[in-house]
Symmetry: C2
Subunit: 363 residues, 2 copies
DNA sequence: GCGCGGAGTGTAAGCGCTTGCAGTCGCTTC
DNA sequence: GAAGCGACTGCAAGCGCTTACACTCCGCGC
């Protein structure tokens, strides 16, 4: 073997000790200087920082974790990594945490068995992370409790547990806004898509439905139980649900609890030669990227921001010293905003108009 | 303070030492027994495993990492966490790695600056993970090299670096298949959407274009340069590109290099009252969940599998002892498959038919 | 009957940091 | 002018594992 082997010379890592020697101080001082701790003379800190910079020193995370008992890591647990909503939440979490110097571990809780495994104390999430963001996982409230007991900060998105920071859309208000929009157009025969639960238990549908119905009642309108059709939160569910609604005594307007379901609903309409917004109005929630392709009226929320807000609140909780003593103020996270985005998938009752097409208008 | 404080009694963690004491062996034996190392009597192992189980012992990852120099962690670096394609790749990676007992760290390389920061050796990815999956990040080839130099396994998705395991769709063949499909329908005036590069450099477009053109040449068809329009890989890009194509001497069929772009293209068509598959045929790539909503003909690939395959190859490389010695066989990953999914967004040249609608047929 | 080898186990030295505690030193404070 | 006090810094003890090496048996071969 010659020495010019491509794999040779894995550069020896520079340790804190090297920095200490070079800067002519103790390792303790290096550690303090580099982490901005007090009680380091400005001149010393300068020197240490310079040396560290010059040597390209960076502390070994594993050693730091072991010694300090902090991991500088955040875990994001989501029901399904590949879905539009969750991946955007994760994107928000990642952006904030990485920015703050935290590593982000992701866990997909696709199968119930994986949630169980996490709830089992042995998952030892507490040794892996300083904080956990639980996204739409009410089934995991046990998990949350056990984490908190072990001094791991918890923040949630889409549901609440205890008084930990939570980013939760005002779902009843969203439901009400959707209702208001449809009612305002004169619709009185209303349908709802997305009322029931996934294997992964959502609290969201129930809340949106409640707000929707309450608003209807203000107009003296009742939503018949047969007109509330569930089917998960995905496209196929929306398609199937709309098919059911159309089968018998179809409503003139439908509230789909997510854009993905709304897309499925539109599909079912088109298949029958019905024009959204003319024959049947459809309103969704999310303002998914494709909503404006199919001209879907929807209630916009900023999903990435939701994740980011949760992450910020989580980091605040982690860094709040009171957290450790158990009497921390519940660090409340910002409440997400939402707004109606009107497009052509909704329209006035009996609004049949020849010039109306499914065409798009780009922003 | 009474003792029934909710926050009291953080249960003392059980350490390897406790297991050792309880099982009446040394910590070394516990370590060996639990990790399935040889030179442990079957009876001893049993006992140790039982005790560990009973005590709910789980090694502290930080300590294990520090001592062993392995992290049992994999990093997934993707250009954008929120996008459909990448989040599904990540889902595949996560599923495989979690299954194998590895933690998965995600990093979004949205901004070029973040890539730069990673390339800087100081990111110390090597101390954070045993392996890294780089998804569609040719700009990061330096990063890859430096990782390998530091004994971190590397696998890629969508591009190759050195002879490390890579999951790369046969893009020229995909391009050719798309061309074949359109040519077969009699189209000769062809357009291409997606030819150029994102800020994040893709190699993919070029390869698909090459295959597309070669196939065309076999039919004696030439694709005019003006008919090759770029615009990122997202929906808006597709919309804008189609608008350009339609502006002057429109093609009768268009190959969009991703479904998202194809959706944008469809949008541009509808806006002009043109019917996809009748007035202009459009074919995409991916078989995105929504492709069948809009009846988009596409070339399907299984994105989750791509991620999973990369992860499997990465883990194999990590576990292959030869990796450390530098003379490992390049662990080749499986090649992804793809197939044409014909829907109504493509149709024969001059196929104007009154009975043709944009309706959907569910599988 | 003695030496040997291998299986099984224990000892102890780290891995590279963090941090409580104990100085050291130069100034105030009475 | 002695005691006290802060501001800095260093010492050294871990953090909870892994693993090289040493050791103890026990069965076998000659």
């Amino acid at each position: 073997m010659s020495t010019d082997d491509t794999n040779g010379e894995a550069p020896r890592r520079v340790r804190i000790e090297d920095v200490a020697a070079q800067a002519d101080v103790s390792v303790a001082t290096v550690s303090r200087a580099l982490r901005g701790l007090p009680n380091v003379a400005a001149s010393t800190r300068r020197r240490v920082v310079d040396v560290a910079e010059q040597l390209g020193y960076q502390p070994d995370p594993a050693a730091a974790r072991l010694a300090a008992g902090r991991t500088n890591t955040v875990i994001a647990i989501v029901p399904h990594l590949g879905s539009w909503y969750f991946s955007n939440v994760v994107a928000g979490i990642e952006a904030v945490c990485t920015q703050a110097g935290y590593d982000v571990l992701v866990i997909g809780a696709d199968e119930p068995s994986r949630v169980d495994r996490l709830i089992d104390e042995r998952a030892q999430l507490d040794r892996r992370a300083d904080g956990v963001v639980l996204v739409d996982l009410p089934v995991a409230s046990e998990l949350a409790e056990s984490l908190v007991r072990r001094r791991v900060a918890v923040a949630t998105v889409g549901w609440r547990v205890g008084d930990h920071p939570a980013v939760v859309l005002d779902d009843p208000a969203v439901g009400a806004l959707a209702a208001e929009h449809l009612l305002h157009f004169g619709h009185r025969d209303l349908g709802v898509i997305g009322g029931d639960l996934d294997p992964i238990a959502f609290e969201v549908p129930e809340r949106r439905l409640r707000g929707f119905r309450e608003q209807c009642q203000r107009y003296g309108v009742d939503v018949a139980a047969e007109r509330i059709v569930g089917g998960g939160f995905r496209l196929d569910g929306g398609y199937a649900a709309m098919a059911v609604l159309l089968e018998h005594d179809p409503p003139t307007a439908v509230f789909a609890m997510s854009d993905e379901m709304a897309f499925g609903a539109l599909m079912a309409l088109q298949e029958r030669g019905l024009t959204p917004g003319v024959d049947v109005s459809v309103i969704g929630v999310d303002d998914h990227e494709f909503a404006h392709v199919v001209e879907l009226t929807t209630i916009r929320q900023n999903v990435v921001d939701n994740g980011a807000a949760a992450a910020r609140a989580l980091l605040a909780a982690i860094q709040d010293p009171r957290t450790t003593t158990g009497d921390a103020e519940p660090a409340e996270a910002e409440t997400p905003t939402f707004s109606l985005v009107a497009r052509s998938s909704t329209g006035p009752l009996n609004g049949h108009r020849a010039d109306r097409t499914l065409s798009s208008r780009l922003p």
